[in-house]
């Protein structure tokens, strides 16, 4: 029984609201430090790649952005599924909060990929499995947000958009494995694989720091947006009053 108490607490809007507010500055500070080191290490400390020279430095924004595009979508879909199954308001709030952040990272992954593809492959864009499936991910995010805004009633918006989010999650493994399943122009995994990463430490550590920093930045942004989503859903005056009057 005791194992379920955390689950009930997670379902309580005031508890989640206060926890998110407490965690935000911690996430933000560690994110800033990790990204600062990651970008400095990637742009200054790491040597140029033997094949791609200085163009490889785009990896420090591109790969973590792409990782976040998938992590944010997985967060969104899991939260949406929890919201559907247990009819949990807070879970739907998490899903709704993750969407615009995930969409922005997906946009960045596509844009920086294009900026990297031009000098390396000689083209801004190609209809290759990795690129196309990532573009579909951007459309999934945009479709999710458009569907939400089409409903006046928030509960119906939550439920309808959650179904779309859960169905769309099949795209996540497709994106990840696209470079192995299909013959792709995109290079294979550098870090996210079972074998040893194919990079020396001076290049790898800043990259890992960027991955960590982007993830924490996402967590910080999610906490702020989640608080907004909780406030919009809350009708219970007593605790809402205590939050609003504190300002």
């Amino acid at each position: 029984m005791a194992t379920w108490t955390w689950f009930h607490r997670l379902a309580s809007p005031p508890y989640v609201y206060r926890t998110a507010a407490t965690l935000t500055p911690w996430f933000a500070v560690v994110a800033a430090l990790a990204i600062g080191y990651g970008f400095f290490g990637g742009l200054v400390l790491a040597p140029p790649d033997y094949q791609q020279k200085d163009a490889f430095r785009i990896i420090y924004v591109h790969a973590p952005s792409a990782w976040l595009s998938l992590l944010a979508y997985t967060t969104l879909a899991v939260a949406a599924a929890v919201g559907l199954v247990w009819r949990m308001k807070v879970a739907h709030a998490v899903a709704a909060a993750a969407a615009p952040i995930g969409a922005s990272f997906t946009f960045l992954a596509l844009l920086t990929g294009s900026l990297w593809g031009k000098p390396m492959w000689g083209t801004w864009w190609t209809w290759d499995a990795r690129l196309t499936s990532e573009l579909i991910l951007l459309f999934l995010y945009l479709g999710y947000m458009a569907l939400r805004s089409a409903f006046d009633d928030r509960q119906r918006a939550d439920r309808a958009s959650a179904v779309l989010a859960v169905v769309g999650v099949v795209n996540v493994p497709i994106i990840h494995f696209s470079v192995t399943w299909w013959n792709s122009l995109h290079q294979g995994s550098t870090v996210m694989k079972l074998a040893k990463p194919s990079m020396p430490g001076s290049m790898l550590w800043p990259l890992l720091a960027s991955f960590l920093g982007f993830t924490l930045l996402f967590a910080a942004l999610l906490c702020v947006r989640l608080r907004a989503e909780i406030l919009e859903r809350e009708r219970q005056a007593s605790w809402l009053k205590s939050i609003v009057e504190k300002r």
């Binding site: 970008f39 040597p47 430095r57 900026l115 947006r225 907004a228 009708r235 009053k241």
Partner: protein, 62 residues
């Protein structure tokens, strides 16, 4: 590491691609931070208005 600042900015001839990538990242993250804060501020304002309206109803005001 042992390169001059001009060499660093030149990025071995890849400057437009490298700096555009990092610039785009900075811009999108700035918008993300401002957007999240704006969402919270407006949700707070709406909640405050809802509470004021409810209090008004209880007192029998229009």
């Amino acid at each position: 590491m042992d390169r001059t600042f001009t060499e660093f900015l030149a990025m071995g001839g890849y400057a437009p691609y490298v700096w555009a990538s990092y610039g785009a990242w900075c811009l999108v993250m700035l918008l993300n931070i401002l957007g999240a804060r704006q969402a919270l501020d407006s949700a707070m304002e709406q909640a405050r208005r809802r509470l004021v309206m409810r209090d008004g109803d209880e007192r029998g005001a229009p």
